[in-house]
């Protein structure tokens, strides 16, 4: 098994799936000869040609719209939106068209497509207000969509293969900070990580920290610090934020009785609120403390200056402090 990065895992999933099934197409801005701004489609154009690796004009709504049309007509498009921040012009196509196609036809026809987009920022790795957002909650709100946010190279590959084979539209958001920051042994052969199934990133019996995406790594770092004091934190990596893995959320909450939910996205009306509600509804009797949340402040996106970005972003310190607060109950 080779050690590969997160972005290489994505590239490898696309390549494998395109080789396996010639209905799979990739389209987006500069995904062709350039290989995408982050290199997620590097080499695909050379291998599969311009009919399957399609450089599009700068037109997010139509990138998604054309992909929907391809899906209706029997193809399996993977649309790349260059940054998640550029997706709002395509919201109509995603929410009003892709998400509703199966339901409006009473299950007669579907829309098997993937929309990939890099998301997120960080103190050193972001491009400020319009190149750093985590907008997953906007999509997680919509029945008919699935929303996947992998945190490791292994998951990135296995989940992307599942997403491409899924009969329904899948939003696949990739944290930019992860693209090249971690390497992992990833099986070369194909394997599927099921959508809607979380993963225990770190086992523990005292507290639960439920999170996803790049924050998983920050939560594990924070958990390691608590472990030095004998407090064992279980970190649950949701991997998919729609549909949520209710069963595992409930299981970890019942096991530890103390739950912190954290994510980089804005806290209010976010995914964490939904997870907290599930815990409150299903685990009331087993809770030994309030369900706590940690997320982005009431600021529309990550501001540029490092001193301000630090206020926005989480990081192990903030998660550790919150976990200690929770442990005190």
């Amino acid at each position: 098994m080779a050690q590969i990065t997160y972005v290489e895992a994505i590239r490898s999933a696309l390549e494998q799936e395109m080789r396996r099934d010639d209905r799979v197409l990739v389209m987006g801005e500069d995904v062709g000869p350039k290989g995408g701004v982050f290199g997620a489609t590097a080499g695909l154009f050379q291998q599969f040609g311009e009919d399957r690796v399609i450089d599009t004009p700068l037109a997010e709504a139509a990138i998604v719209g054309v992909s929907i049309g391809c899906a209706l007509a029997g193809l399996l498009p993977v649309a790349e939106i260059q940054f998640l921040d550029f997706i709002p012009p395509a919201m109509d196509q995603i929410i009003n068209e892709a998400a509703k196609i199966r339901y409006r036809s009473n299950g007669d026809w579907g829309c098997p497509m993937v929309i990939r987009a890099p998301c997120g920022g960080g103190v050193h790795v972001h491009g400020a207000l319009y190149h750093s957002q985590s907008l997953e909650a906007l999509f997680a709100h919509v029945p008919g969509l699935k929303v996947v946010i992998p945190s490791t190279p292994t998951d990135a590959k296995g989940l992307l293969l599942s997403a491409i084979r899924d009969p329904d539209p899948v939003c696949f958001f990739e944290h930019k900070a992860l693209y090249r920051s971690l390497k992992e042994e990833v099986p070369e052969e194909e394997y599927l990580v099921p959508i809607g199934q979380s993963r225990v990133a770190r086992a523990g019996a005292d507290l639960s920290c439920i999170t996803y995406g790049a924050t998983v790594h920050e939560a594990v770092a924070a958990a390691d610090r608590l472990a030095r004091d004998g407090i064992e934190v279980e970190v649950l990596d949701l991997r998919t934020v729609r549909p949520l893995d209710r069963e595992s959320i409930v299981a970890t909450a019942r096991k530890t009785g103390k739950v912190l939910v954290c994510h980089e996205a804005n806290l209010a009306v976010g995914v964490g609120a939904e997870v907290a509600a599930i815990v409150a509804e299903e685990c009331f009797q087993q809770l030994d403390g309030p369900v706590m949340r940690l997320g982005g402040p009431e600021v529309p996106a990550i501001p540029f200056a490092e001193s301000l970005a630090e206020v926005y972003c989480l990081g192990p310190d903030k998660i550790e402090a919150k976990l200690r607060q929770l442990a005190a109950y």
């Binding site: 197409l25 009919d51 599009t56 004009p57 037109a59 709504a61 139509a62 998604v64 719209g65 054309v66 992909s67 929907i68 049309g69 391809c70 899906a71 209706l72 007509a73 029997g74 193809l75 498009p77 012009p89 109509d92 196509q93 009003n96 068209e97 199966r102 339901y103 409006r104 036809s105 009473n106 299950g107 007669d108 026809w109 579907g110 029945p143 008919g144 699935k146 009969p167 329904d168 809607g196 549909p243 209710r246």
Partner: protein, 367 residues
């Protein structure tokens, strides 16, 4: 343009139906002409009954009638292959019936019944029938324009000889998605016929209020897309334009833009007091009613007799009365199926069911 049999070059009057049929424009046969007339009449009667049912509150929501514009859907769809793909906007009854969708299922959909063509999920604006390659009325103005381009991309990629007909109004051309869709279709040489129904209004906005140009085909020019204007009140004119457009697309020459000049005789929807146009204008356009106009053509060309046309109308009336009876007697969708069809594989059927049960529970009595 059709030749008048009375003044054709030989000066002889046609003696048989076959002799006349040879002179029909665009290679049409007499049978195809009768079929187009039949379709227009069906749509007209369907909508008259839909309007009546709406007035009786049997049809709810919004209802947008196509009355006056029937020649556009019928001429265009007749000029396409049976399996060419069709998408359109929310004023969609005409597309569905012109494509041959089941009349009773369409009516039942307006009534919101389980027997409806989308099992009551969509209603009037969202008729669709995948097996007939009719991919729906779309209620978000312009949203289906790139989707049509995408289907055309797939046809090209799969080397299927099918083209896409994508219908929308003049109002849609002000929307960004219209331009994104045309740009991509032209750039990639896609086999899609964009059919703009220019009926002079987008809801209450006049053309002058919504567009800097009054000829929509000018907007295709910037994308180097060939375009023609046709008389949307004349089914033959529409047929000819779309026949030319579809041939162009099918031969690999890329997209084509057809602008049909037409007019809706009724308000934008059933709740439109029509303060933005005067009655005289409506009266003038009503004189161009595409149905009697084409009826006259059929009679002049001895394709049908007046009696035969009257019979077509009577039969359509009876068919629609029956469709209304069918719709009215059809069951409502079972509430327990409300969460069906959101995903191919239900995500958590139990939770979905539970949420529905809770929603349906009466409020607990105060204790």
């Amino acid at each position: 343009m059709p030749t008048n049999p009375k003044t054709n070059r030989t000066g002889s009057r046609p003696t048989s139906r076959r002799a006349v049929a040879r002179q029909l424009p665009h290679g049409l046969t007499a049978q195809q002409c009768r079929e187009m007339y039949h379709k227009m009449v069906q749509i007209r009667h369907f909508e008259d009954h839909a309007a009546e049912a709406y007035a009786q509150a049997k049809v709810g929501g919004f209802l947008h009638l196509y009355i006056g514009e029937e020649a556009v859907a019928v001429g265009a769809i007749a000029a396409a292959r049976e399996d060419d793909h069709i998408l359109g906007h929310y004023r969609d009854h005409g597309y569905a019936l012109a494509r041959g969708c089941d009349v009773q299922a369409c009516m039942a959909e307006l009534f919101g019944r389980e027997t409806g063509i989308c099992h009551g999920r969509g209603g009037s604006m969202h008729l669709a029938d995948a097996k007939r390659h009719f991919w729906g009325g779309h209620a978000i103005v312009g949203s289906h324009i790139p989707i049509g381009a995408g289907m055309a991309y797939a046809m090209q990629y799969l080397e299927e000889p099918l083209v896409v007909l994508d219908f929308f109004g003049d109002g849609a051309t002000g929307n960004g998605i219209f331009h994104e869709g045309l740009n991509m279709a032209a750039l990639w040489n896609l086999p899609v016929v964009f059919i703009c129904e220019n009926n002079l209004y987008g809801m209450g906005a006049t053309l002058a209020e919504e567009s800097p140009v009054s000829d929509m085909m000018i907007k295709a020019e910037g994308y180097t897309m060939p375009a023609v204007q046709c008389d949307g009140m004349d089914v033959l004119s529409v047929y000819g334009a779309v026949q030319q457009a579809a041939e162009h697309c099918r031969s690999g020459k890329g997209p084509f833009f057809v602008e049909a000049l037409t007019y809706r005789f009724r308000g934008h929807s059933m709740a439109d007091p029509e303060l933005y146009r005067d009655k005289e204008e409506v009266r003038r356009w009503r004189e161009l009613d595409p149905i009697p106009r084409f009826g006259d053509f059929l009679v002049q060309h001895r394709i049908s007799s007046q009696q035969e046309l009257a019979q077509v109308n009577e039969e359509a009336e009876a068919e629609m009365l029956e469709a209304v009876r069918f719709a009215d007697a059809s069951p409502w969708p079972d509430p327990s199926t409300a969460a069906r069809g959101v995903y191919a594989n239900p995500i958590d059927p139990e939770a979905a069911q539970e949420a529905l049960t809770l929603a349906a529970d009466p409020a607990p009595a105060a204790s």
